[in-house]
Amino acid sequence: MQVPAQVEYEKATSVEQALALLARYAPGARVLAGGHSLIPMMKLRLVQPEVLVDINAITGLRYIEAAGAELRIGALARHADLLAAPVAGEHFTILHDAERVIADPVVRNWGTIGGSLCQADPSEDLSAAFAALKGSMIIHGPDGSREVSARAFHTGPYQTVVGPAEMLTEIRLPIRPGRLTGGSAYMKVARRAGDWPIGAAGAAVWLAGDVISDVGIGLTAVGATHFVAAEAEEFLRGRPADEPTLARAGEIAAEHCRPASDQRGPADYKRHLVQELTTRVLRTAVRRGREARGLAS
């Protein structure tokens, strides 16, 4: 029987109240959202917070909306919300690709986007998707709010830039002008339905004619720094979106990631997955971008 250690519990009904509670109890406090990462960790006694600050009653943090040139996702949006939001799929197919393979439908009902990000598991899927989309995170603290690039959010496995008296409140994804020439995709290989990835890749491609004007490639579970395949991105920028180029980008991504052998598979196999999945998501993203352009013209 897995039982968390003794813990105090506070319920916050506003961001201000949550921040006041975090400030009062830091560094012994942890934000409790869906709890589907934190509670298992507490049951295994891998973390033992002194105080839980439950933010589930801050209903104003649960939203997914296009605002100006951004898609904004409230930190308390559930995974099921993101999968069900047409506005998310309309702009970024990668998000729906990823959500379909995150955990299982019942876990997605309750687990939150912000919670997954702040847990910062090195195999987490949305961290790679948001890195590919070059999003940013809004973090509130005692001194106000700050915006941090998705590519600077994680400082290591299970570690983020969010301080003990701070909380993540929103994820922002830029919607570029002429978005109809962009496409995105996510693919994951796992041992069984609902499992963490052995390896996964996401790509967002922006096309100028048939040339790749910009690209984001996110990798998870394979030791990619900040979940990004930076060298492959650099190689692709300004090159034609043809098959040999995309295949070469997959090879570059595989060369530069640093997977570890573990119970999910040997490092060589994971490297092979990175090469294949990176090429496939680039191919799909390019095809989707062209299809969207075809629809627009």
Partner: protein, 160 residues
């Protein structure tokens, strides 16, 4: 901590430790043993109940998180002594063998049919993909849900 939870339409007040999991609150405090305590790791789904209108794995929710909310368990599905059509269908189609996974399967299936009254076999399989039947009786579980949706329960076979 004092909490107030409406379970199957009945208000319950209890003083609980914040670390108490919802599944243990239901089973040990309220003696509602329909929801089963299975893997304890949010993998098997035997503990699925509804928190307000949403199926959740109650081994991974604290009882204090249900304070001020409604919980529905398998005991709350029948109305006036009449079983829910999903319960009837599980009985008719042999949707249960040992019965351990059944309460969670039925709670998720009821929710699926409330949101998608005519699901395909593939959609049913997706809906219960976070729940494990250790008898491996999935074929009959899918048939049961199809029958509850108004099909004859024979079109969810191996090809489904």
């Amino acid at each position: 901590m004092k909490i107030s939870v409406t379970v199957n339409g009945t208000d319950h007040q209890r003083d609980v430790e914040p670390r108490l999991l919802l599944i243990h609150f239901l089973r040990d405090e309220l003696r509602l043993t329909g929801a089963h305590w299975g893997c304890d790791t949010s993998n098997c789904g035997a503990c699925v109940v509804w928190l307000d209108e949403t199926p959740v794995k109650s081994c991974t929710v604290l009882a204090v998180m249900a304070d001020g909310h409604r919980v529905t368990t398998i005991e709350g599905l029948a109305r006036g002594g009449v079983l829910d059509p999903v319960q009837d269908a599980f009985a008719a189609c042999h949707g249960l063998q040992c019965g351990f996974c059944t309460p969670g399967m039925i709670m998720t299936a009821r929710w699926l049919l409330d949101h998608n009254p005519d699901p395909s076999a593939a959609e049913i399989r997706e809906a219960i993909s976070g729940q494990v039947c250790r008898c491996t009786g999935y074929e009959n579980i899918v048939r049961s849900v199809l029958r509850a949706a108004g099909h004859d329960g024979n079109d969810g076979g191996a090809s489904g």
